[in-house]
């Protein structure tokens, strides 16, 4: 393996056997009887759980239904110091890849070369024990994550300061609030100094302030020259923190390159969120017994829902919902964020027809129209929420339910005018400019 590479993955595959496990005996007595009856048969069955030499090479055509290829012929190289994002739908193989790289489970085929120490953060607070004090848990969690005792000793004060729980250090962790626990756990994890850091979606815990803290720390780690592998569903985080990204789909590596391109591919090909999302089955639609979200979409005035919308056109954010219970006042609400994770705006229902009125049960379609020439170019994520007069209540809150891409063809009549360079900004309103001229 070349000296400058941190990770070299060479054609790895991971196969799980499905179905056979149900047939194989779950209890000892049954297995014992079967063992007596047909020892060879049972040995073969059990062995097949981990021995896949009988599974033929797949070119995608021959699909053996008794196995699942969680990963299929994945290869890539990561030079030292790169920060790489790994994205894909659920079940694409991201977690499996991380588990293999973390040595939690071995690959069925292929090889991985690793240079340097690997620390994996697949969960925050692994090994935390409720009965032990905060101090004890720092040591326990630290050594579990791969630090040596003297390393924890050295960093102890820093860790405690970062977490902010110094007053409670000698109280059992079961007395901590969940926020304190997460902060302590993250503080330990944040002080790992491995050459290679693997993170699986741990940013999804904690409140917004905490998540921001995590993001910042991740950013710092990337700057320090460590190699980082970051799995996430948060496209904004991936584009912000990782210059490079890999897209996995159904076990295969579909794309590997600059993160904004890969994220765009993910959104465009319908692998990720698109401009329309619907829940045909009322029972698993987001919501509660008062109201359920059926469909969210982004539309233009002619009723289309393209992924890319011209900046000069008005954009409608639409939610279709069914009100089940009578007598409630509801506030449809949208939050729009950009790919940096910044909230561009939030908007609450202004329609005078139903404002403050108790809703009659039935199907509703509420649309919020964003004026043309207001938004910036780029990918925007839509978060539909259903609120109530009681501020804390959210009947549903679907983060990043749909996304759309604002493009400016630069034909002269948008806020760009004739400018082809970069125009930064969370919004890009078309403003009225005045010029006074006095010849000399």
């Amino acid at each position: 393996m070349k000296k400058n590479l941190a990770i070299k993955v060479d054609n790895i595959s991971k196969i799980y056997r499905i179905g056979t496990r149900e047939q194989a005996n779950e209890n000892f007595i049954g297995a014992m009887f079967e063992f007596v009856r047909s020892p060879l048969e049972n040995f073969r069955k059990y062995r097949s759980l981990y021995d896949f030499s009988d599974v033929e090479e797949s070119d995608g055509n021959k699909d053996d239904l008794s196995v699942i290829w969680a990963l299929r012929d994945v290869s890539f190289e990561i030079p030292q110091g790169e920060v790489v994002g790994v994205i894909g739908t659920n079940g694409a193989g991201k977690s499996t890849l991380l588990k293999i790289l973390s040595r939690i489970t071995p690959p069925t085929r292929g090889e991985v070369g690793i240079r340097g120490r690997v620390s994996s953060l697949l969960e925050v607070g692994t090994g935390f024990h409720q009965e032990l004090t905060g101090r004890d848990n720092v040591y326990l969690n630290g050594t579990i994550l791969g630090m040596r005792k003297r390393e924890v000793d050295r960093k102890f004060d820093e860790i405690v300061e970062f977490s902010g729980v110094d007053k409670f250090l000698d109280t059992p962790v079961k007395r901590y609030s969940s926020g304190m626990r997460v902060r302590l756990a993250f503080a330990v994890a944040a002080h790992l100094e491995p050459e290679i850091l693997i993170i699986d979606e741990v940013l999804a815990v904690g409140d917004a302030t905490f998540q921001q803290k995590c993001m910042n720390k991740m950013h710092d780690v990337g700057q320090q020259g460590r190699t980082v592998l970051f799995v996430s569903h948060n496209m904004a985080a991936v584009t912000r923190l990782c210059p490079r990204a890999m897209l996995l789909d159904q076990g295969g590596l579909v794309e590997d390159g600059p993160s904004d391109k890969v994220v765009e591919h993910y959104l465009k090909t319908g692998l990720g969120t698109t401009s329309v999302r619907s829940w045909p089955d009322l029972t698993d639609a987001p919501g509660d017994d008062v109201v359920r979200l059926r469909r969210v979409s982004v539309a233009t005035e002619d009723g289309e829902s393209p992924e890319s919308i011209d900046i000069r056109h008005s954009v409608g954010l639409r939610m279709e919902y069914r009100v089940l219970k009578a007598g409630k006042v509801l506030f449809p609400y949208f939050i729009v964020t950009n790919d940096q994770g910044v909230v561009v705006f939030s908007t609450i229902d202004q329609d005078p027809e139903w404002q403050g009125r108790q809703r009659t049960p039935g199907d509703y379609v509420s649309t919020a129209w964003i004026p043309e020439n207001l938004l910036s170019e780029g990918i925007l994520y839509v978060n539909p929420v259903m609120r109530a007069p009681e501020r804390r209540i959210r009947h549903f809150n679907e983060k990043d339910a749909v996304a759309f891409n604002i493009v400016d063809p630069a034909e002269g009549d948008s806020a760009r005018g004739h400018w082809t360079g970069r125009l930064s900004g969370v919004v890009r309103p078309m403003l009225r400019w005045e010029t006074e001229f006095t010849p000399v």
Binding site: E26, S102, I104, S120, T126, E131, L145, K149
Partner: protein, 278 residues
């Protein structure tokens, strides 16, 4: 500044094949974690209890009292002239350690499945942690043993020099059983139900409650293959100063060693599927 590891260490991850030997270097590298996991088990055990470590004495004490009354006074089992209380104490103390650590060790992978699936460290640490952690209970219960020995005015003899061998054997048996059982427990949850009653039966297979002299000559070797027999006879001979009964002890030492080695190899072989099968 050194963190205690090599930052340029190069390793290859491959599909495991066949039988793998133990990686002692790796175990050494993870000794800090091993230490903390053992320490955690110890600290947590009696957390928020009133009696705390006194339980380590109460548990065997109650057994000794009951057995002394039933088998000593009521049934009047022959113990070759040794007072029954002394006879049983010397055996119950190591037996309690063995049965507790066997039980904990066989469930170690199931109880620790959260750690198993999220973090890598040598899996051998799982079944071995209770074997070490329970030693603390054992040491505390030794106080009871010493107390009883003082009461019966037993003076130490040269036989004590063999004691370390039996302490090791006493640890090797639960380690071996734990290695086998924990690998099986991952696949067959029955182990959790089987262990308590197996342990209840096992107490009768060793000369804990009765004297081994009662075993007929022709079955002596067979009887002694059970390594627990070797441990108990060894403890008796060492502590009470009676003649060392090597014919009961040696088959057990061999069997215990084989149990440990085979357990370790089987565990290593099955390691690769633990996470996938659990």
């Amino acid at each position: 500044m050194s963190n205690g590891y090599d930052s340029n260490a190069f390793s290859i991850i491959r599909p495991p094949k066949g039988w793998e030997l133990l990686d002692f270097k790796e175990l050494l590298a993870y000794r800090d974690l091993f230490y903390f996991l053992v320490w955690r088990d110890i600290k947590v055990l009696y957390a928020q209890t009133v009696l705390g470590f006194a339980w380590a004495i109460l548990n065997p004490l109650v057994q000794i009292v009951i057995f002394s009354i039933i088998f000593g006074k009521v049934a009047r089992l022959d113990t070759g002239g040794i007072p029954y209380v002394l006879f049983s104490t010397v055996a119950i103390i190591p037996w309690t350690y063995m049965s507790e650590s066997m039980s904990a060790s066989s469930q170690s992978l199931v109880t620790g499945q959260n750690l198993l699936g999220k973090i890598y460290f040598p899996r051998l640490i799982f079944p071995l942690t209770p074997v070490l952690a329970k030693l603390v209970d054992f040491c505390i219960s030794l106080l009871l043993l010493i107390g009883v020995m003082i009461y019966y005015k037993i003076t130490p003899t040269l036989n004590l020099v063999y004691l370390p061998l039996f302490v090791l054997l006493m640890m090797a048996v639960p380690a071996g059983v734990g290695l086998w059982m924990s690998s099986l427990a991952i696949r067959f949850r029955d182990v959790k139900f089987a262990m308590p009653f197996v342990l209840r039966m096992l107490i009768y297979t060793a000369p804990i409650l009765y004297s081994a002299d009662k075993i007929p000559d022709q079955y002596r070797v067979l009887y002694s293959i059970n390594p627990i027999v070797g441990v108990i006879e060894g403890y008796r001979s060492c502590l009470l100063g009676t003649e060392m009964q090597w014919e009961y002890i040696l088959p057990g030492v061999v069997a215990g060693t084989l149990l440990l080695i085979s357990g370790a190899l089987y565990f290593r072989r099955m390691e690769r599927v633990f996470v996938d099968v659990i």
